[in-house]
Amino acid sequence: MKHLTLGLALAALATASHAAEMGAVDEPIKLAINEWTGQHVTTHVAGEMLKAAGYKVEYVTAGMMNQFQALADGDLSATLEIWSSNVSDQYAKKIGEGTVVELGDLGLDAKEGIAYPAHVADLCPGLPAWEALKACAGTFATAETLPMGRLVDYPADWGTPGADRMTGLALPFKAVPAGSEGALITELRAATEKKSPLLITFWQPHWAMAAYDVKFVDLPEGNEACFNDPAWGPNPNAVNDCDFAPSRIFKAAWSGFEQKWPAAYEILSKYELSVEDQQPMMGAIDVDGGKVEEVVAKWMTDNEGKWRPVVEAATK
């Protein structure tokens, strides 16, 4: 049934792919620039596509957590990289009100998990198998967590997926919430410099995955049965005794967007960016010190085949 509806939707999209009206080309479309490099790449690629279609684009810095009120008010036109793993309650509220609309998936294949810098494998033999953590908990213990091991979890406002895994798998680890992404990165950096043990909740695509050679712990496959049925998985008494719920990365816009810039709406709805495209650009910026505008401009000329058709389908 699900496949049938999806097929129908795709067919509908295919027939609807005639050129849309341009709308208010003189008014700039304001795209949100959040706090991380991957999002800058995603947004600048989309912005250049809109410019190529003939729109004016303005990039506006916006805090990830607080942007939805601005989106609902039309102060921001669209935001292009929302992670389901740490989207605030406000988003659901604005979607419910109808002041913000979703623009579909970005197509970025994200993975979250329990991770460690590569050198930790020497300190806890048996990694990446999760069972190895049972015996090594003492290695990861610190003053605050003794006698349990320490897991550095996401900041409290992103939820507690790491702590849920530790409870689910009955691992003797205490989850310590990091206060910010900066704190997570600093932990990775300090552990790498000191060659000290570290277990951390992390995700990819992220530039730090490569910079600090971060590896994921192998966990049992995460599925609905595991999240809802305690009997499933290695621990018969708990849910969440498995990998993370797959996270979605998607786009959203102000509710008035479609009416004001119909063709731009279509471009952004169809816009997708893969990890293989985004990750090298992130590296070129964060590791090699390039500027977002230049790195993206180079990618746009080298990969015209990947984005030009989307623009043309909407405008011609």
């Binding site: 916006a62 990165i185 950096r189």
Partner: protein, 684 residues
């Protein structure tokens, strides 16, 4: 030593207060096992649900939203103009203008300061972002100055309102800005206007306070002369009283500028503006210490230039040759015109970047080299200092921390020792000191985070009574009870614990540094610029090295708080000790006092009120840093505030912010009460 000699026959109010607190503590301790609600406030007793509070607040905010939106539309105009003006001015011309202003207000020294400060900004490669930040300050300061002036005049004209105005100013300064960012975004919409308003809210109180103080101090004869010459009230105010109070008002203006500048980083958390705060946030997110330090130093450079220049304005105006200023301007213009084609884009100056990267690498190397030592420091501090303070000796002493297990029997010995020592002190006449000792030892055994709430309420009430009588006592108890019924008690106790630990460290370290600076001018020359930097750099910057060395946790949080809160302790201690009236020093010298005797018996008692004021400021600073420390990963009220910010939960944000403000407010009033008593004892 006359002060310590309390009469033995009738007990002083302070002694009564201490005894009542002790009794409550003992009762709680005895009853706690059978009555669990003494230590943990039951969830059913939470009267004020933050969710319901959210709904009420949101409805109200939506109601006044159109008016607020109008304000933000109006403010967007000057904001745009200022931004266009600052970013469009070519950098050689801008540097020339600031240098010329420097010459006019303070001669060659100020001109050099202005020139060097701005050259630093240029070389850092953050010129464009720096100009955006200045534009924000240029609009928020007039807003803060005008509203501060209005508040001050209102309180001056209608004396009945004075109490209410004081309370309002306290609220504006103690509620953490992060706590009301969400409602501000809802009200004023997205963008730099929110940051502007937030910084104006924070910067207006110093202006208002100085206006009130200045007008109060205008001499009666001056006022009467104006009345007799038949001036109307407005004429009296604007033509006589305000000019007479001008110097104090200029001090307020200077403080207002500094406060606005220290808040610009808040604007970046919301976004909408490519300013220096946004750079700090980006580099901090990547854990690049050198780079975020560089971006932070740009703000320090602005702060130092603005502070010294506006400080010079507050002094007697000196006349400097205007032709020199014109010459500087002409030179700037000439450079601009001559180098119009050659002058590179200001963003291209990144000369200091390699230095920043070097600092960053150095930090990494240091962490790698001294990892084991750093861990040992942290573990010892946690095991023997912070953990016992938080959860008490009874829970903190375990075989793998101290090497043995704390038992009920040890508790009994501990309390027996406390009571014996207390009684011994009481027998020698110092009843208050004896009682306080028993209370302190009891707190160490139990741990701050596990104190029974009746004990904390009674203790605060008793302290309030000793410091300022019944009214202060009732105020303290009433406000703290409010936290209790909001259901934020356990988090508030954690905040209290973090603050106690940090303030204790600040008192010892800051006191010692202040003492050293007072004794040796050489030490002061080193310490002073460090104090300046610690006070104006965005607080976020401290978090990276602290985290690199000691990882996420309470120890890091305490260190970060100390780095900021230690400054007033140093400054006030030194100021108090240096400031002893010369005739007292001469008299003591004539009596043959040694340097040490002079310090202990003459300077220290004289400096006590000033040092208490420093302690008061240290406490307030510690509370304001507590919110920032939540970015490290604390679990106290600061975390609630960030949680609320992330989830746009207005009710939680406002109530957690209010709880934090209540703690700071109560601590402030208690210390002020004691300082007042001390001043009276000294006959000041």
């Amino acid at each position: 030593m006359i002060l310590a000699d309390t009469p033995r026959t009738s007990l002083a109010p302070g002694t009564w207060a201490a005894l009542v607190t002790l009794l409550t503590g003992a009762l709680c301790l005895a009853l706690a096992p059978s009555l669990p609600w003494l230590t943990v406030w039951p969830a059913d007793w939470v009267l004020l649900d933050t969710k319901a509070f959210s709904a009420v607040l949101e409805t109200f905010l939506r109601f006044i939203r159109p008016a607020a939106r109008l304000v933000s539309v109006l403010l967007a105009y000057p904001m745009g103009w200022a931004n266009a003006l600052f970013t469009a001015t070519p950098w050689p011309l801008f540097i020339a203008i600031v240098t010329a202003i420097g010459w006019l207000v303070g001669g060659a020294a100020m001109a050099a300061l202005g020139f060097l400060g701005l050259t630093f900004v240029l070389l850092s490669g953050y010129w464009v972002q720096g100009m955006s930040t200045l534009a924000l300050v240029a609009v928020s300061v007039p807003v803060a100055v005008v509203s501060g002036l209005a508040i001050g005049l209102l309180a001056n004209e209608i004396p009945r309102l004075k109490g209410a105005v004081q309370a309002l100013l306290d609220i504006m300064q103690t509620v953490p800005t992060f706590a009301y960012l969400t409602p501000l975004v809802l009200l004023f919409g997205f963008g730099p206007v929110v940051g502007l308003i937030a910084s104006a809210i924070y910067a207006a109180p110093p202006m208002a306070r100085n206006v009130m103080l200045g007008l109060e101090r205008v001499e009666t004869e001056v006022k009467e002369a104006a009345v007799m010459s038949g001036a109307t009230r407005l004429q009296q105010l604007f033509q006589v009283e305000i000019p007479a109070a001008m110097r104090q008002i200029m001090v307020g203006f200077n403080q207002c500028l500094m406060a606005a500048l220290s808040m610009v980083i808040i604007a970046a958390v919301i976004g909408g503006f490519n300013d220096i705060g946004w750079e700090v946030l980006l580099t901090m997110r990547k854990a690049l210490f050198g780079q975020s330090l560089l971006a932070g130093l740009v703000i320090v450079a602005f702060a130092v230039v603005i502070d010294r220049m506006s400080g010079a304005l507050a002094l007697e105006p000196q006349s400097h040759d205007r032709r020199v200023a014109l010459g500087i301007l002409a030179l700037g213009l000439a450079v601009t015109l001559a180098a119009w084609r050659l002058a590179p884009d200001p963003a291209a100056f990144r000369l200091l970047m390699p230095l920043a990267e070097g600092v960053d690498k150095g930090l990494g190397a240091f962490t790698a080299g001294y990892g084991a030592t750093l861990d040992a420091i942290k573990n010892n501090a946690m095991f023997f200092g912070l953990l016992p303070l938080r959860i008490g000796l009874d829970d903190a002493i375990l075989p793998f921390t101290w090497g043995f297990q704390w038992t009920a029997w040890m508790s009994a010995v501990w309390f027996a020792f406390a009571v014996t020592a207390g009684l011994a002190l009481a027998a020698s006449g110092r009843v208050t000191a004896g009682t306080a000792l028993v209370i302190a030892l009891g707190i160490v055994e139990t741990g701050i985070a596990q104190l029974p709430w009746p004990f904390v309420l009674v203790g605060a009430g008793a302290l309030g009574f000793a410091a300022g009588g019944w009214r202060l006592s009732a105020l303290a108890v009433g406000l703290l009870a409010l936290i209790l019924v909001c259901g934020l008690w356990d988090r508030a106790l954690l905040s209290l614990y973090l603050c106690t630990a940090s303030v204790a460290i600040c008192v010892v370290v800051g006191g010692a540094l202040g003492l050293a600076s007072a004794v040796s001018p050489g030490v002061w020359r080193v310490v002073r610029p460090i104090c300046d930097m610690l006070q104006t750099i965005p607080l976020f910057v401290f978090l990276i090295p602290v985290l690199m060395f000691f990882q996420i946790g309470e120890f890091s949080a305490v260190l970060a708080i100390c780095a900021y809160a230690v400054v007033p302790m140093i400054r006030y201690t030194r100021h108090g000790l240096v400031d002893t009236p010369p005739e007292m020093v001469e008299a003591a010298t004539a009596a043959g006092a040694t340097t040490w005797q002079m310090l202990r018996d003459v300077r220290a008692p004289w400096a006590a009120p000033t040092i208490l004021l420093g302690l008061n400021q240290t406490i307030l600073y510690a509370f304001s840093m507590l919110v920032i420390a939540a970015l490290i990963g604390t679990t106290d009220l600061g975390q609630s505030i960030f949680l609320a910010l992330g989830q746009a939960d207005i009710g939680l944000g406002v109530s957690a912010g209010a709880a934090m403000a209540i703690l700071a407010f109560v601590a402030d009033r208690l210390v002020q009460g004691f300082a007042h008593g001390q001043r009276e004892a000294l006959g000041l």
